[in-house]
Symmetry: C2
């Protein structure tokens, strides 16, 4: 079933923005048709279209149901943007499809990219949750410096230079359900040794991500897929 | 360490083709320099450059070591090519990075794409194993029709329409080590009901891939990552 996305609802009505209205028209929906709408915060709304305008659509809400978060853990990904926009956008699309809850972009010593287009990333995330039938839109945060990341004992750093580190599964499985897991992934040239040491000094734990050396964007997706499947 | 790829070796010498020679020049390597070379069949060669030509390079092999396959299972992915070349190439790059052994492209009822560029996919696979430090180059096979896929009791089909199906992990973990696991993934519009039923009638088993509805290329990567991490 095709899902639509709304960021505007009151108890009885919901509204679609220009982008979603365009989408509705592509699918040849008409006034009176029933559609399913998500708000990205866990609500699934059964609606009937009451008006289709040029840049907006009005909906009557007939039924609403709150959906559970499907995952055992809450996954906050911290990742340095890749040099190529395209790879970063792929990463976001795929990681959201596979399942994550929050993403913060990192400015690091070896970062070659220090600007991101938040509007575009937001659109990609909305499209990915609709596509994959999810009810929660991940929060996307703008770039912060690595040393601004809050570290607790659920903070993990994927750094190639650490000799001794646990696999992701062994590191995470002992944690209790619904724990907020933060995983930090560096840029193409990885974190610098100093950066990694500083983070580990603050309490972040080193983890390894499988048998191969993964690119930044593959590492992010690896974490999303693995966290979605730990049991 | 930067790896080079050779498809031509005798006991004492190895040769780099035009593409790898270009790469060698970009890295400003000279005659007399030591480099590491893989043959994609498990050999890691320590070599010294003896001649750099316009389109080829000669190497003296100083040492060679056979590397183990790193994975518990042998993973043969059968997948319908995505409509967009770009998505298919991305899938191949990432799935090879994450780890797979063999890939066969499928022609299915809902396939919108029935041609693939084998030369280009081969190049992407070589680049991905070098990048991720792997010693085995996956075999890439041209398109075959779905009904030509050999089915045994290690053949799994990821089909959204089956109500009862095991998760990938539960389906695979009981199998013995080194089993050849074949997983079939359909095109954007999934397998047709008839196709899925025919395959299951022949003995293929339905599996589900996590909590979300995944796109073709994400599903492929999901399988590669999960299989690389079952224990």
């Amino acid at each position: 079933m095709q899902l639509f996305f709304t960021s505007q609802t009151d108890g009885n009505n919901a509204f679609l923005d220009a982008e979603e209205t365009r989408h509705l028209k592509v699918l040849r929906k008409n006034v009176g048709d029933a559609i399913q709408v998500i708000d990205g915060k866990g609500l699934l709304l059964d609606c009937v279209i009451s008006r289709i305008g040029k840049d907006s659509t009005d909906l009557d809400i007939k039924k609403q149901a709150r959906q559970q978060r499907p995952r055992k853990y809450y996954f906050h990904l911290y990742v340095a943007p890749t040099k190529q926009n395209e790879r970063m956008e792929w990463m976001l699309e795929k990681a959201v499809e596979a399942g994550l809850d929050e993403i913060t972009f990192l400015e690091t010593e070896h970062s070659e990219k220090t600007r991101i287009n938040m509007g575009r990333l937001q659109k990609i995330a909305v499209s990915a949750i609709k596509q994959s039938g999810q009810y929660y839109l991940p929060l996307i945060h703008p770039l912060i410096k690595l040393d601004q990341v809050p570290v607790d004992d659920h903070t993990f750093i994927a750094y190639c230079g650490v000799a001794e580190k646990a696999g992701l599964k062994d590191a995470i499985l002992p944690l209790k359900e619904n724990a907020v897991i933060s995983i930090l992934i560096g840029p193409e040239g990885d974190f610098s040794e100093k950066e990694a040491n500083d983070m580990m000094h603050k309490g972040a734990r080193g983890i390894s991500l499988g048998n191969s050396r993964l690119r930044t964007e593959t590492a992010a997706l690896y974490c999303a897929i693995m966290l979605d499947n730990l049991e």
